[in-house]
Amino acid sequence: MEKKLSEMNYEEEGRVESIEQNLKNKVAGMGIRVGKNLKMITKHPLKGPIVIEVDGAHTSLALSVADRIVVEVKK
């Protein structure tokens, strides 16, 4: 199922489908790119940031940044 990264649930895993064009270069250096698998580690309440795992590294993104990344969630 396809959803925004910001809508993924805790412990869910997925594969990046698309990244908004002007965000692409910003996150590329941190290993976040189309086709990559990632896992939701935690979500903070009150629209706080999320933490995801990519290639064994943890990265924290604001919810509004995560809004701009679309993920195919694994069942």
Binding site: N25, K26, A28, G29, M30, G31, D55, G56, A57
Partner: protein, 176 residues
């Protein structure tokens, strides 16, 4: 004196790396017009001495903040510098991203796969010889905390030359 830029992702043990390469004579300076600080020191090579600059850590050459901006500017100003790119061996892919960006801009690069012990703990095997022949640059596994690999880093400085990214793309196709 020939200049060496020490570059790499944040949190890869770059400052420990820097301390190992340089002696006690380290100068803390301020990048002109900003409040970003960087350190500079000197290193004894085998035949000549080098000035070595610890560039602020960055994930890519597309700056996200002031410190990364300075990192890019320092690189662009020192056209004739050599770059020692320090990456976390256990996160080799994102490290290669930065390394490639630097290589693409035509700088001679020595690639240090630091935190080699961490990669081993995580059961990550990296074929150094193959990586060397694909990138056609010196690649050295290092552990900054213990000093492993530093002699080789110093020795390989003179072997570093700039490589075209086209050649890398061709080479990766040829190699099995």
């Amino acid at each position: 004196m020939k200049k060496i830029l020490l570059m790499g992702n944040p949190n890869v043990g770059k400052s420990v790396f820097f301390n190992r390469l340089t002696g006690a004579n380290v100068i803390e300076s301020n990048y002109p017009g900003t409040t970003v600080d960087y350190t500079k020191g000197y290193m004894k090579g085998n035949s000549e001495d080098f000035e070595i600059i610890d560039v602020p850590g960055t994930f890519s050459l597309e700056p996200k903040d002031k410190a990364e901006e300075v990192a890019v500017k320092m690189l662009e100003e020192k056209k004739d510098a050599l770059v020692i790119c320090v990456i976390d061996a256990s996160k080799i892919e994102r490290g290669l991203y930065l390394a490639l960006e630097i290589i693409e801009r035509g700088y001679p690069v020595v690639l240090a796969l630091n935190m080699w012990d961490v990669a081993e703990d995580k059961n990550i095997q990296i074929d150094i010889e193959k990586l060397k022949s694909i990138l056609n640059i010196p690649v050295v596994p290092t552990i900054a905390i213990s000093g492993k690999g530093f002699k080789e880093v110093v020795l390989s400085i003179k072997k570093a030359a700039s490589v075209g990214v086209k050649e890398i793309m061709e080479k990766v196709g040829e190699i099995k």
